[in-house]
């Protein structure tokens, strides 16, 4: 056989074996990976629901809004909704705070049907380790000052950090990061007040 043909066929055979191995691994792991992702999503969502009583799965009823959507950030925003006896219980808003110290901060804001915050969690951020990362629930109780608050408590003009004359604590050595997060929470509450009717009634899609 000609040499170029042997060489080509060898390469093709090895490529076929490699593709088979990757396809087989994918086939074996695809189910588990999808399960892991869903479980991880729910484990991230649940803490922001605080003490809300609900009987649906948070990841099961979500709507994704493309910008411009009126919520903080210019990435797509996702709203997860939970219900109790088919009545709206709370909505979780995954939004972005744009004016942090380094890149967008993904914030999850939980708001119950009455408009009070159920919990706040930081999903992703690039803030400075040791300073801005105090917003993470695992590194401090900074996010614990929000549950129970709403747009009237404190009034909207006081929804900012103390350095700006507001009611909320900043972090030692970091003001920009908390300022951005508090601003995003306030804007989410404003959006919720304005769109109360449609937040729960828009048809959702399960993830």
């Amino acid at each position: 056989m000609k040499r170029w043909l042997t060489t080509g066929l060898t390469l093709a055979a090895i490529a076929a074996v490699c593709v088979t191995v990757v396809a087989a691994t994918h086939h074996l792991t695809a189910g588990r990976i999808a399960e892991n992702r869903l479980a991880f999503l729910e484990s991230r969502l649940a803490p922001a629901l605080g003490t809300v009583d609900y009987d649906t799965r948070p990841a099961a009823d979500a709507i994704t809004l493309m910008p411009p959507h009126g919520l903080p950030g210019n990435e797509p925003a996702t709203i997860y909704r939970v219900y109790r006896d088919r009545q709206p219980a709370a909505a979780l808003f995954a939004v972005s705070a744009r004016n942090g110290y380094a890149g967008p901060i993904r914030v999850l804001v939980g708001i119950d049907a009455a408009g009070a915050i159920t919990g706040v969690r930081i999903l992703e951020h690039e803030e400075t380790p040791g300073l801005g990362d105090g917003i993470e629930a695992s590194r401090g109780d900074w996010v614990e000052q929000f549950p129970g608050r709403s747009l009237g408590d404190p009034p909207v003009e006081s929804w900012s950090v103390r350095a700006d004359g507001g009611r909320f604590d900043q972090l030692t050595g970091a003001t920009i990061t908390p300022r951005a997060v508090v601003g995003a929470i306030r804007d989410t509450l404003v959006y919720f007040e304005a769109n109360k009717d449609t937040v729960f009634s828009r048809p959702g899609s399960s993830e």
Binding site: T10, L11, C18, V21, V22, T29, I33, G130
Partner: protein, 237 residues
């Protein structure tokens, strides 16, 4: 090449110490510097690299007789890319917390030049058994270095040990002990990675020099020993 056990042990030890990919050959520095913020992260990526390196050495050595010069490098690329993709899928399926913690650096094992270097320099010229030992030796050397630098930076930078070690067992990132509250932040920031690697290379050279010259020498001696060590480092590549 003979395949008796002293040679195999020597092959293994060369990867672990004399020709350590990170300390001597200075290969694979991108993951080494990027993920070593904790022992769990460093060890996780080190073990994944060890698995890929050993399997790629095995496969390259097995196929070395069928490969003509023209397709050798494309075949290495195919083999390494398939192995890394499979390892990545397995980690995401069975160690999800580790996958989230290491993120892009698992697929980026494919670009670790230590792997293609061992395929080209060793596995394509040696029988299967020595190639496997070379892969295990080099992989273990790299994993130990990643784990050591990770532990060092974690201790200095965060004041804790074994944080998130649970993710190597398929659990969430849990476990670990805080020794002091907080730490010297610089150690976990990027400059700390360079300082830690420099200290590790210096420590290795110091140990080598001491072994070679039991009597402590003057500055001149130390300098010539360091130069000799650097010289050998270059030759070994």
């Amino acid at each position: 090449m003979t395949t008796d056990s002293p040679t195999l042990t020597a092959t293994f030890r060369r990867g672990l110490w004399q020709d350590n990919p990170g300390l001597v050959q200075l290969l694979g520095l991108c993951p080494l510097l990027a993920v070593t913020t904790s022992l769990a992260n460093g060890l996780g990526l080190g073990l994944a690299t060890l698995a890929v390196l050993t399997a790629s050495n095995l496969l390259v050595s097995l196929s070395r007789r069928f490969l003509s010069r023209e397709i050798r490098v494309p075949v290495y690329v195919l083999i390494i890319a398939s192995l890394v993709t499979s390892v990545e899928l397995l980690i995401e399926a069975y160690l999800p917390a580790l996958d989230r913690s290491l993120g892009i650096f698992i697929p980026l094992i494919v670009t670790n030049c230590a792997i293609v270097a061992r395929a080209e320099v060793f596995a394509s010229r040696n029988p299967v058994l020595p190639s496997i030992f070379d892969g295990i030796g080099m992989g273990t050397g790299f994993a130990c270095l990643l784990a050591a630098i990770g532990a060092f930076r974690e201790l200095i930078g965060a004041g804790s040990v074994l944080t998130g070690i649970g993710m190597l067992g398929g659990q969430e990132a849990q476990g670990g002990f805080a020794i002091i509250d907080g730490g010297w932040l610089l150690a976990v920031l990027p400059p700390g990675a360079f300082f830690s690697l420099a200290l590790a290379v210096a420590a290795k050279n110091a140990v080598d020099n001491r072994q070679r010259r039991p009597v402590t020498g003057g500055m001149t001696r130390l300098r010539s020993a360091a130069a000799g060590s650097a010289q050998r480092g270059r030759e070994s590549q």
